[in-house]
Amino acid sequence: MHLFRGFYLLFHYFCARIRQALFFSKEAMKISNYSIKFFGVLLTCLLTINVFANESTVQEQQGDERISTKVEIEEYILHHLKDSHDFHLVSYTNDAGERVHVGFPLPVILYGNNGITTFMSSEFHHDSDGKVIVEKNGNRFVNYHGKIYELEAGATELALDAEHHPVNASKPLDLSITKSVFGILIAGLLMLWFFSSLARQYKKRNIPKGFGRVLEPLVIYVRDEIARPNIGEKKYKKFTGYLLTVFFFIWILNLMGLTPFGFNVTGQIAVTAALAVFTLIIYVVSGNKDFWGHIFWMPGVPILIRPILAIIELVGTLIIKPFSLLVRLFANISAGHIILMSLIAIMINLKADLGPIGSTALSFGLSLFIFVIELLVAFLQAYIFTMLSALFIGMAVAEHDHEHEHDAHGNEVADAEDIRENFI
């Protein structure tokens, strides 16, 4: 554990240095230079902490219940990818041979047969095999593989069928503050804090100070490079708020996934699906006459082909676009987490062949390399999600300057305006 405390102190040292540098630098001329440097320092300490913390996590598992086989590693990785009801940082075995879990419980909120039931997840005592039964409100709950089941009346323990599905328990509506929900709340609070303080600063001065100097170029980047060119000069203002929110939300959550706290929020398909549905609702609601006209009755195409195109366009607009948005983010982030954890597991898998130092060095080098790439991916996926949302919204609100004439074959006939545009 002293390893952990050491890095905690190191992190605080770096934070103090950054804070000092951020708040006491007065040269407004060097803003961009400074922001890039501070950002670099921030990311560097994030990175150091992550790699070391992950290593210490794996190393400290080498007690009586150490993870050593490939099957156990696979289980551990899959467990990390899923959402969970408690916040688990580190497990280790102490001198007395007891298993110690470091972390904190989260509230469980269930809507079952007897109404709402709440308790802390610590009452399950880190059990996920359905063995510990929690009695509340006359209901009995068990945690089986991360999902909470409500036992039927008269059942004393969870019974499973051949495919490991519970047979004598029902699933209550689970409204718990799980790890992902907790991560979303933290990201929301961080954004509220960052951007409300940034907004307040503009009342007093034109150039923000402190952390606002890091945020301002990013906000302007999203506005000028993503919203304005894709949506158009006339209407971009209405949608910039949504695009900024989505961009920073995804980016912060992606970066939180790379900290040792083990968040995997943007790797939950429900979260990415909700984000994709928001984009879908926005471009369906704000789509104009031309947009729907081009979907249902495509101009410039022979009449017989128009119904076929209408089906393709409708499926593409309502299903394929949001589906590709949600799957891209989910798969990229999940794949990143799996690769990073697999590379850390090299330490255990190749210990017999390379010795403890060789396997640790190999795993450290590879995971450091992938971690830097993951930092890039965290930004890139936020950028792409925002960019494609802007593109889809832009398609829906695009205004066509003038109607084109169509000849007998359905091709557009260039009119005087087109010719003048081409000439210029």
Binding site: E225, S324, L325, V327, R328, N332, I384, M387, L388
Partner: protein, 66 residues
Amino acid sequence: METMIPNLVGAGIIVIGAGYGLGKIGGSAMEAIARQPEAANKIQTAMIIIAALLEGLAFGALFLGK
């Protein structure tokens, strides 16, 4: 497990196609930037959009084939 084999083979074929497509996008973008270095930003943006769409297809195939 045996019933999974067609899915996995199909997903593999789609990923090969997506890899070919990504290579082609990247190569063409490099050529275009070499010809017109002043348009590098616009070309990069367009390249990333198309690459993202293609990646979505590949991930969709992997997801459905799993």
